[in-house]
C-alpha cells in the first residue's frame, strides 16, 4: 500500500532533527513492504487533499515568526482534513502550536522549563526521548490518528514499536480493514524478505539507546 505524507514547512521546522520522524516513517514503511511518498508543503502551497499523514515539526522563534500567516491557513486546512480521517503528527513547538489551534483539546499554560530525557507510557507502550519544554502540554497524547508529543527530535527512531503501531493504524484506516482503537494489525507491518535485516539492525540498536536514555532519565 502507498502512504502520502506531507511535512509542513520542513525547511523551517527541523530544529532538533524533528524531520527525522518522517524519514523513519518512510524507511519503516518501505522495510515493511509499503510505499511512502514524503513531500514538503512550503510557504504559499496547500496540502494535497489525498494526504494520509500530515507532519508538523519543531522550529526556532524566528522560524515560527516567519511562518505565522501561512501557518494559520494550513492549520485550518489541516483541521478539515483531520475531520475527514487524515492522520496528523506534531512534535515540540509544532505540537504546542497545534494545541493553540484547537487540534488537541488542552489549553496551554507556561511552566518552568524542563530539559531532560523523559520516559512515559502511552497506549500500553513505554516511550522515551528528549524533553525540552516550558508548557504544561501532555508529554504525549494520541487521539485516534492525531498524535502529539513534546519529545523532540527523532521520536519515531527511538520508539519503533510506537511508530509501527501508529503507522499500521493509518494503513488499516486507509484499507478500511479495522476500526480505530483495535489492536495493531500485525500483518500490515511485517518486514519484507530481503529488508528484514534493516528492521533487526535497528531493533538491536534501539535496545541500547533505550537502556542509555532510561539511565539518563533517572539521573
Amino acid at each position: 500500500m502507498k502512504l502520502k505524507i506531507a511535512s509542513l514547512f520542513p525547511e523551517h521546522l527541523d530544529l532538533n532533527g524533528d524531520q527525522g520522524n518522517m524519514k523513519v516513517a518512510v524507511k519503516r514503511l518501505e522495510w515493511f513492504g509499503h510505499e511512502a511518498s514524503l513531500y514538503a508543503v512550503s510557504k504559499g502551497e496547500s496540502i494535497p487533499p489525498d494526504t494520509d499523514l500530515i507532519f508538523l515539526g519543531h522550529g526556532s522563534l524566528a522560524a515560527w515568526a516567519d511562518l505565522e500567516e501561512h501557518l494559520h491557513l494550513l492549520l485550518a486546512h489541516t483541521k478539515q482534513l483531520i475531520a475527514g480521517g487524515t492522520a496528523f503528527m506534531a512534535v515540540a513547538s509544532g505540537y504546542e502550536r497545534a494545541i493553540q489551534f484547537g487540534i488537541f483539546p488542552q489549553n496551554l499554560k507556561r511552566v518552568e522549563r524542563v530539559s531532560k530525557f523523559h520516559i512515559e507510557e502511552s497506549h500500553g507502550l513505554e516511550v522515551l526521548g528528549y524533553l525540552n519544554a516550558a508548557t504544561d502540554a501532555p508529554v504525549i497524547q494520541k487521539n485516534a490518528l492525531v498524535l502529539g508529543t513534546q519529545l523532540h527530535g527523532p521520536f519515531f527512531a527511538k520508539n519503533p514499536e510506537y511508530a509501527d503501531m501508529y503507522l499500521s493504524k493509518i494503513l488499516s484506516t486507509k484499507l478500511n480493514l479495522a476500526s480505530l482503537g483495535e489492536a495493531p494489525t500485525e500483518s500490515l507491518m511485517t518486514p519484507t524478505t530481503g529488508l528484514k535485516h534493516n528492521v533487526d539492525r535497528v531493533a538491536d540498536i534501539v535496545k541500547a539507546v533505550r537502556d542509555l536514555e532510561k539511565d539518563l532519565a533517572s539521573e
Binding site: 532538533n16 532533527g17 524533528d18 526556532s60 539507546v209
Partner: protein, 422 residues
C-alpha cells in the same frame, strides 16, 4: 596578599586531583578557587596593561583564538591565554592557578581569551574587555540555550561591553542584527567572498534569521580565495596568502577573524605579511586538520562539535575513505542534533563507539550506511581500530566529538588536553 591563601589552596587541590587522576584534567581546582576567591578573576584580568581581548560565538572559538594569540606573539606581545577546554568561569580560575604567581598576578601584556557563548555575558558584566570578536550564532547546544535568539541576546550583552574595538562577522545575519542593536560602537568586519560561500553545499551553517536580509557592511578583512593549498585574505588593500591545514571554508573564516582581531588590537604595529607567515607556520589545533601517526599509520582526526562542524567536515571529506571510526561522547547531551546532519557524504564506517555510540549507530542505520562493528567502550574501539590491517590508502580517519577526543588523546598517550598550550 589577600588572595595568597586562596591560590595556595587551589594549587593544593590541583596537586591532589593529579595524584588521584594522573594525566587527566579536572574542573575542581578552578571551582574551589572561584568559591573561596570570587573577586580574583576580575583582579587578575584587570592587571594586564593592554587589557582583555575576548573571542566568542557558537563555533570556531578555539581555532580563532589560537591564530590570534600566535599573530599577537609574532608581533612581540606577551600573551596570556586559556586552554580551549577551559573557556567557562571555572576554567579561567584553573588557568589562574596554573599560571599566576601566589598573588594572583600573571605576567603579560594582554589576556586573549576564548569564552563560551553562554558564560561570556556573565563574565563580562564584571570585566569590560578592551576588544570583543563575535564569530557566529548557530543552532547549537539547544538543550542549554533552547533557541538561537537566546545566544544572540547573550552575545549582544558581551558586544556592548567592548571598550575600544568590536570585530564582527559580516556573513552571519545574526551578527548583523547584533550590530544593528548597538549605537556608535567601534566596529570592523571580517568575512568570506560571497562566491566562495555559494560554492559550498551547506553554506556557513549559521542560524537562519528568516528576516529581510541586512546589507553586508564594508569588510576590512576578507577571504577572497581558498583552495586546499592556498588561502588568500585581503586586509584593507593588501592581499596576503598562506596555507591552512583544514579543507573547510569555516577554517578560512576563522583565519580572517583572527587577522582582523589582530589588526584591531595591534593597530599601527600590525604587519599583514607577518600575520600570514604566522598562520602558515601554525601547527593545527588538535583534530582541526591535524594528521598524526598511530601504530605507524597516518590518522586524520576530525572534531565534530555541533551540527555545522559535523556537516562541513562531512562535506569536505575526501571520497576515498578506507577506514573510518566515529566516536560520539558524553559531551553530546541531547543527540537529537545528529539527525539534522545530512549524512549523504558519510562513508562506510568500520567502528562506531563513544558514550553515545547507540544514538550515532541508530542515525546511521536509518540512512542504511554500512557499519562494521559497534563497540560501546571507546578504549576497546581504539584498540580494534588501530589494530586493523594497514589501509591501502595509507590513512585512517577518526571522527569524534570533544569528549571522545579528550579520552582518545589520553588513551593514545597524547598530551593532557588541560595542558594544551597555544
Amino acid at each position: 596578599m589577600f588572595y595568597v591563601p586562596a591560590i595556595l589552596i587551589g594549587r593544593m587541590v590541583r596537586i591532589a586531583v593529579r595524584l588521584v587522576r594522573p594525566g587527566g584534567g579536572s574542573a575542581l581546582p578552578g571551582l574551589v578557587l572561584s568559591k573561596i576567591a570570587p573577586g580574583l578573576l576580575v583582579k587578575t584580568m584587570a592587571s594586564f596593561p593592554d587589557g582583555l581581548v575576548v573571542v566568542t560565538g557558537s563555533a570556531g572559538k578555539s581555532t580563532t583564538t589560537k591564530m590570534l594569540v600566535a599573530i599577537a606573539r609574532a608581533h612581540g606581545k606577551n600573551v596570556f591565554t586559556n586552554p580551549s577546554t577551559a573557556n567557562i568561569a571555572q576554567g579561567f580560575y584553573s588557568s589562574i592557578i596554573e599560571r599566576s604567581n601566589i598573588f594572583g598576578k600573571i605576567q603579560g601584556d594582554v589576556a586573549i581569551l576564548e569564552m563560551d557563548e553562554g558564560h561570556a555575558a556573565e563574565i563580562t558584566k564584571k570585566i569590560s574587555p578592551r576588544q570583543v570578536t563575535l564569530l557566529n550564532v548557530l543552532e547549537d547546544q539547544l538543550d542549554r540555550f533552547v533557541d538561537p535568539a537566546v545566544v544572540r541576546e547573550k552575545l549582544l550583552m558581551v558586544a556592548a561591553k567592548a571598550k575600544s574595538a568590536l570585530v564582527l562577522n559580516a556573513d552571519d545575519q545574526n551578527i548583523l542584527l547584533i550590530d544593528k542593536e548597538m549605537d556608535s560602537k567601534p566596529v570592523s568586519w571580517f568575512g568570506v567572498k560571497s562566491s566562495l560561500i555559494s560554492n559550498t553545499e551547506h553554506g556557513l551553517g549559521n542560524a537562519p534569521t528568516y528576516l529581510a536580509e541586512l546589507s553586508r557592511p564594508l569588510v576590512q578583512t576578507e577571504v577572497i580565495e581558498q583552495s586546499p593549498k592556498k588561502t588568500t585574505v585581503r586586509v584593507l588593500d593588501e592581499d596576503v596568502s598562506f596555507a591552512l591545514p583544514n579543507r573547510g571554508i569555516h577554517f578560512a573564516l576563522d583565519a580572517a577573524a583572527a587577522i582582523e582581531s589582530a589588526r584591531r588590537y595591534l593597530g599601527e604595529n600590525f604587519i599583514p605579511e607577518l600575520a600570514a607567515r604566522t598562520l602558515e607556520e601554525l601547527p593545527p589545533v588538535f583534530a582541526r586538520g591535524e594528521i598524526t601517526t598511530v601504530n605507524g599509520v597516518d590518522v586524520e582526526f576530525i572534531l565534530v562539535q555541533n551540527p555545522m562542524s559535523f556537516q562541513l567536515n562531512l562535506d569536505n571529506l575526501p571520497p576515498d575513505q578506507e577506514q573510518v571510526m566515529v566516536a560520539i561522547g558524553r559531551d553530546v547531551h541531547d543527540p537529537s542534533w545528529l539527525w539534522t546532519v545530512d549524512m549523504k557524504n558519510m562513508p562506510a564506517i568500520d567502528i562506531v563507539t563513544g558514550f553515545n555510540y547507540a544514538e550515532m549507530a541508530l542515525r546511521l542505520a536509518y540512512d542504511e550506511i554500512p557499519v562494521g562493528e559497534v563497540v560501546p567502550e571507546l578504549e576497546d574501539a581504539l584498540a580494534k581500530f588501530f589494530g586493523l590491517p594497514a589501509p591501502k590508502s595509507g590513512r585512517r580517519t577518526v571522527i569524534f566529538s570533544a569528549d571522545a577526543m579528550r579520552r582518545t588523546r589520553r588513551a593514545l598517550g597524547f598530551v593532557d588536553p588541560e595542558a594544551v598550550e597555544r
